[in-house]
């Protein structure tokens, strides 16, 4: 597909061509930066490292109504899906890859109709990273600052303009909608973007060699490292809550007046109640077991099942942990122990 170019001055014009869709762009909400609908005439602000809340929220919302019912009635109705299609503008490549990773989970054996519906109705416009964060390690887990996996369009900042690369049919449709404000990219533009991609990859300062980890991680089941790395854990769950490939959820019923709904919400394997049996027995009774499961799930079980590590190296779990638990430190200890 032909590469295009969008002058930064015309970003607003481009966005205005997409009015039939809901446009989600990174926006501040208190201390958090998250994808939210762009209001009225606002201009998308694409100058940021990464959002604190990953865009998985758009396809797998933090809270989602699954079924609705009238109090006292047994019939449950499937909640209506989104009417409008969505465009997510400015998604970092790691977060787009995460969606591809969890596509595996939500479509294996039986499709999850809520996720699949939202995913089908979303166009993901990525923004290549120029300045990776200090804890980014995407290149160690199969990604990169300009990885195109899961993206419909990739934007690369060229200074005054963006290189616009449509990558899928959805991406083509989007570019056609904005054809008036897009121009053909020159060879120099394309080379400029390639150079920027390479430079960004070289700026990534943290690395881990994952070779051998998926196959051998469970052999460290009783190793003392799990006690060591979980000792300071508070069990707050932020490492999984805001992890782009984390996908675990709880289901709860809520009743308000005569209206009831069964909804799902993000859940975390780092919470003690997550696995607690009704009897009170908990197969993962301490943070040692829960941390061990978290790392094993991402780096071994998920690889067994779907042939991909359920971690995209975005660094959020490192950045946000209140007690500075660092997944790369854990993986280094794993490496040493293997």
């Amino acid at each position: 597909m032909e590469s295009l170019k969008l002058s930064k001055e015309k970003l607003g014009d481009f966005v205005s061509k997409l009015t039939d869709k809901e446009l989600l762009v990174p926006q501040k909400e208190g201390e958090a930066l998250k994808f939210a609908p762009l209001a009225g005439e606002d201009m998308p602000e694409l100058d940021y490292e990464n959002t604190s809340v990953p865009p998985k929220n758009a396809v797998f919302p933090h809270t989602e109504t699954m079924l609705q019912f009238e109090l006292g009635k047994m019939d449950m109705q499937v909640a209506a899906g989104d009417e409008k299609e969505k465009v997510l503008l400015g998604v970092r490549p790691c977060d787009a890859r995460a969606m591809v990773i969890i596509d595996n989970l939500f479509t294996w054996d039986v499709d999850d109709p809520y996720y699949v519906d939202k995913r089908e109705k979303s166009t993901v416009v990525g923004l290549a990273c120029h300045e990776p964060c200090s804890n980014c390690f995407c290149t160690s887990v199969g990604g990169g600052p300009a990885s195109t996996e899961g993206l419909d369009v990739l934007l690369t900042d060229l200074g005054d303009s963006y290189l616009v690369q449509p990558l899928s049919e959805k991406g083509e449709v989007l570019c056609q909608a904005g054809a008036d404000v897009l121009e053909k990219a020159s060879d120099a533009d394309i080379q400029g973007a390639e150079k920027a991609h390479e430079e960004a990859a070289n700026k990534i300062s943290r690395h881990i060699d994952t070779a051998g980890i998926p196959e051998n991680l469970p052999s460290l089941w009783e190793h003392e490292l799990w006690e060591e790395v979980s000792r300071s854990c508070l069990g707050c769950g932020i490492c999984t809550f805001l992890c782009p490939p984390c996908h675990c959820f709880d289901m709860q019923d809520e009743v308000e007046g005569f209206e009831g709904r069964r909804c799902r919400t993000w859940d975390s394997c780092m919470f003690s109640e997550y696995t607690m049996h009704a009897s009170g027995h908990n197969p993962r009774h301490s943070r040692r077991e829960r941390t061990r499961n978290r790392i094993n799930h991402k780096y071994s079980y998920y690889v067994d099942k779907f042939d991909v590590i359920a971690c995209v190296g975005c660094g959020r779990c490192i950045n946000l942990c209140p007690v500075n638990i660092d997944i790369l430190d854990i993986l280094s200890k794993v490496r040493e122990a293997l």
Partner: protein
């Protein structure tokens, strides 16, 4: 959004009959339910060992093993221990009330592979619920199987599930039922002691046999040890795992034991497989 085939949307079923198996804080109540929708009633198929999500709108759902065999008829039986919010609400229901059901979920006991073999079930407490469909299935297809040995125990005689029907099992040459309680009681005609000891007392031969055990984790551990003492091979031993579940279809994440999802890869596991899973008896 696809309405048809939404895997989270449950069917409605009516309680045809309900009775208490045991009483007390953790009472067990059995529900016999029939789907309201004729089409679902006719098309529903399950195999021994499978589970279903049963619940009530506004309260929630719980994964419960189907304690009836498909050979018994176009109904489902669930034996539910009163434990948490959902099971408490279910216990309040009477014949004529309705529940929601979705499933069936999970794999099943490989009853076809077991044809021509001796079947030994070893249960403890509510663990007899997933074993009951095997017993009923084998009884309904009696010619396909060799001896059927039922070993079952609970803390007291009041804690035994399906007591009536088990006591009715007339010991013949090829069917036997051995019951136990943990401590002596007046008028108790059967064994006194723990299930693993009863197993040693019954002393079944491993020759051409399959042993299936369900019950509290501590009982399973000692039953497994004793089965090994009786020279059963790992491949001859089956058990079921239970973990907390929400979705039942391998999405919500929480029921994993190691790299296995109990809702999809289980609940039935061969011991040879389970031995490789470090978290399975946690």
């Amino acid at each position: 959004m696809r309405e048809n085939g939404n895997p989270y949307k449950p069917h409605v079923a009516s309680i045809e009959d309900a009775w208490y198996e045991t009483y007390g804080d953790r009472a067990i109540k059995t529900f016999k339910v029939v789907f309201d929708d004729e089409e679902i009633k006719e098309s529903w198929e399950h195999r021994p060992g499978q589970c279903a999500m049963i619940g009530l709108p506004g309260v929630g759902e719980s994964m419960i093993s189907i304690s009836s065999s498909p050979t018994e008829g176009k109904f489902l039986r669930f034996s539910v221990m009163r434990m948490g919010k959902v099971t408490q609400a279910l216990h309040e229901l009477e014949p004529g009330d309705k529940i929601t059901v979705r499933g069936p979920y999970g794999n099943s006991f490989p009853v076809d592979e077991w044809k021509g073999k001796k079947i030994i079930t070893i249960g403890g407490g509510i663990g007899q619920a997933p074993l009951r469909p095997i017993i009923e299935y084998v009884k309904a297809n009696r010619a396909d199987y060799e001896d059927l040995t039922i070993i079952y125990g609970s803390r007291t005689s009041g804690d035994l599930c399906f007591k009536g029907e088990l006591e009715e099992v007339t010991s013949t040459d090829d069917v036997s039922c051995h019951l136990s309680i943990d401590v002596e009681e007046e008028n108790w005609q059967h064994y006194v002691g723990f299930v693993p000891s009863l197993l040693m007392e019954v002393n079944p031969s491993p020759e051409n046999a399959i042993a299936i055990t369900c019950g509290p984790p501590i009982m399973i551990r000692f039953v497994l040890e004793n089965l090994k003492k009786l020279n059963f091979e790992d491949e001859q031993i089956y058990t079921t795992l239970e973990n907390r579940m929400k979705c039942g279809i391998g999405k919500c994440g929480r029921c994993n034991a190691g790299n296995l999802y109990v809702c999809k890869d289980g609940p039935v596991f061969n011991y040879a497989t389970l031995k490789q899973v470090p978290e399975s008896f946690a």
